[in-house]
């Protein structure tokens, strides 16, 4: 994996106004980088702001504050049409619900070719058709599917269509917002395998948003854990699962049920109590060991570090 930054997110904020004196801080000061060719997993419970983060990055929402640099260029703020077009080609999204994210009145051909048409990527109708056929094959469907409508497909197949649509404009970066949570277990594995294979072939970078932690661990290189609009921990996938530091991460990990009855019988769940934190100062994001970041105060930082050294020496 290269260390070239593809995406830099700096202090991203997304606040929603609800009435006069009520502001929901869905995303509240996120800062992280996504490297070229990696899969960055974003996990957290519903309402923690992980989907909002994805949607703000790709401009489905206008962010309240902060910057998103894609290859060093800010993608937030005012843009003219041609700038937007250029940016839209590089960044695409796969949505959670394959039932509502495909227009039921369009054929598969038109759904997939929409991006091709907008960006003028096909010179004539022949080429357009050929491109769509190729994309369908890439995602494991076939030509005959092109003239059908979305309702004729199963959930897994629709998610493949969603992936084909995202790939149509040759993006470098794909935001996948819970792409498998609406699918059956056996179909989930198919879609995840497909995404991994495409990443290898096309050198894609993914932001993978999910709440299924075991699948996130499987697909991601690095993982960020979100809690109430903030990142509380960020580390390499292995490291995060082996040595979780933040109490919230620990409680989240301890809550995943594993398909192992004996383990389950002996499982001890850790309950997260937000009041256990040191409140003497504003917590900051600090690097506790190389590439492992935790949201903590300076006092907690020392404690976590000590704890960590102990576990390493043991």
């Amino acid at each position: 994996m290269s260390q070239e930054k593809l995406l830099e997110i700096k202090n991203l904020k997304q606040h929603f106004k609800l009435g006069r004196n009520n502001v929901v801080k869905a995303v509240d000061g996120l800062t992280f980088d996504i490297y070229k060719g990696e899969t960055f997993g974003l996990v957290g419970e519903s309402g923690c702001g992980k989907s909002t983060t994805g949607r703000s990055i790709i401009r489905l929402y206008n962010s309240t504050d902060g910057e998103v640099l894609f290859k060093g260029e800010n993608v937030q703020g005012k843009k003219n049409k041609s700038e937007l077009k250029k940016f839209n080609r590089q960044m695409q999204m796969i949505f959670q619900d394959p039932y509502s994210s495909l227009n039921p009145r369009m054929t598969v051909m038109d759904i997939i070719a929409e991006g091709i048409d907008i960006h003028g990527l096909a010179k004539n109708a022949e080429e357009r058709k050929a491109k769509v056929y190729e994309l369908l094959e890439t995602v494991g469907l076939n030509k005959e599917h092109a003239n059908r409508y979305p309702h004729e497909f199963s959930g897994g197949q629709r998610q493949r269509l969603g992936i084909a649509r995202a790939l149509a404009v040759d993006p470098e970066f794909i935001i996948a917002d819970e792409p498998i949570s609406a699918l059956d277990v056996s179909i989930q594995a198919q879609v995840v395998n497909l995404m991994k294979q495409l990443q290898k072939e096309k050198g894609l970078t993914y932001l993978f948003i999910a709440h299924d932690l075991s699948m996130v661990k499987y697909i991601s290189d690095r993982i960020g854990v979100m809690y109430f609009g903030k990142l509380v921990e960020l580390a390499d996938a292995e490291e995060l699962y082996k040595n979780p530091v933040h109490p919230y991460t620990r409680s989240l990990l301890s809550a995943i049920p594993l398909p192992d009855p004996i383990y389950e019988r002996n499982r001890k769940r850790i309950v997260y109590d937000p009041s256990q934190h040191d409140t003497s100062e504003e917590p900051e994001f600090r690097e506790i060991s190389p590439r492992h970041w935790v949201l903590c105060t300076s006092k907690e930082f020392e404690e976590y570090k000590k704890e960590k050294q102990n576990t390493v020496t043991n």
């Binding site: 519903s46 056996s186 594995a189 989240l252 049920p257 594993l258 383990y263």
Partner: protein, 348 residues
């Protein structure tokens, strides 16, 4: 063990424009007193239809029981009239639905919804029912029940709503509790709370639970026995340990293999290829044969019977026939089982 419910060769079909959908194609199982039986399977495998039939909740007239019986209290549920069913439903057999957002009435106060069953089935007066409702809300650990009773469902979070649904289901001390994906719509930490709560309550009130889910992690957590369903049939049934540590059916292997473990670092997940068969015209032989790389010739001709593995463990695959070639589970599944055996030693 005392049998509380006996399902025998149950077949349920739906009439549609395209033809008759054979959603359940011969399901047989017993439910013992005080146990939790998990039914796992993909969408369309017939797990929800099976339990809806147990409750007499099939959409009539296009959904109907074609064959088989469900014996409860020496009565065949499939033959009961609606009025007789109403006496059982919610009293002896009750249900927790998947989506707590839609299974409560949004225009009724939560307290009234809990009291409804008590007044109807237990002939309680209003005051008595109110007291019992508060007791139930305490049981499912809803804080401040007196105030919460007067609120409406939209004022509750997802996890709290599911607690209300559980309280309603438990109101009349049912002997059988059917939980249809009760935690699928919830977050992991809330899911863990609800599962703990259900296990806790089961100990207190000694009810039998049929737990429907597609999450094998949840199964490992709650179940005593597991039935794996595919295309309207039970393909493997046994105690949790038997099914997780000694699975025999290739479909069970596929299910276990398609979930990544937290330790695993394989390049590719073991995915089951293809999609489930169309149940309007189910295949002649084993319904799983077309997706099964271990399929034998006979799989395409004749449906396998249930082969006995142990007194409690059965699987419907020709691979267990004495003439069948010896087939080992795929590498990834074996590795997973080995890694789990390892954890077993560590905890002992």
């Amino acid at each position: 063990m005392e049998k509380i419910l006996e399902v025998k060769d149950l077949k349920v079909s739906f009439k549609t424009h395209g033809g008759e959908v054979q959603a359940v194609r011969g399901v047989t199982f017993d439910l013992h007193k005080g146990e939790t039986l998990a039914i796992v399977g993909e969408s369309g495998s017939g797990k929800s239809v099976t339990t809806k039939t147990l409750m007499g909740l099939l959409p009539k007239p296009h959904g109907f029981v074609k064959e088989g019986s469900i014996t409860f209290d020496n009565k065949d549920i499939t033959k009961l009239k609606e009025s007789e069913l109403q006496k059982i439903r919610g009293k002896d057999i009750s249900m927790i639905f998947q989506d707590p957002m839609t299974s409560l009435n949004p225009t009724m106060k939560v307290g009234t919804q809990i009291m409804e069953g008590l007044i109807k089935h237990q002939n309680m007066g209003k005051a008595e029912a109110r007291e019992k409702a508060i007791e139930l809300m305490n049981l499912v650990q809803i804080p401040n029940p007196e105030a919460r009773m007067k609120q409406y469902p939209h004022q509750f979070s997802g996890g709290m709503r599911q607690r209300v649904v559980i309280a309603i289901a438990l109101a009349c001390n049912p002997r059988v509790l059917i939980a249809d994906e009760p935690t699928t719509a919830l977050d992991v930490t809330i899911q863990a709370q609800i599962l703990e709560l259900m296990k806790d309550i089961q100990k207190k009130v000694d009810t039998s639970i049929i737990f429907i889910t597609h999450d094998l992690g949840v199964v490992a957590n709650v179940a005593d026995r597991v039935a794996v369903m595919y295309a309207g049939k039970i393909v493997e049934i046994g105690t949790v340990d038997e099914v997780f540590y000694n699975p025999k059916h290739p479909y069970t292997w596929g299910l276990l293999g398609s979930m990544p473990t937290l330790e695993s670092d394989e390049e590719e997940l073991f995915a089951i290829p293809g999609t489930p068969p169309d149940l309007i015209a189910p295949p002649k032989g084993d319904a799983f044969a077309a997706r099964n790389k271990f399929a034998l010739e006979i799989d395409f001709v004749e449906q396998p019977p249930m082969f006995k593995v142990s007194d409690t463990h059965y699987a419907a695959t020709w691979l267990l026939h004495e003439d069948a070639p010896k087939v080992e589970p795929p590498e990834s599944v074996k590795k997973r089982i080995e890694s789990m055996d390892h954890s077993e030693e560590a905890t002992r």
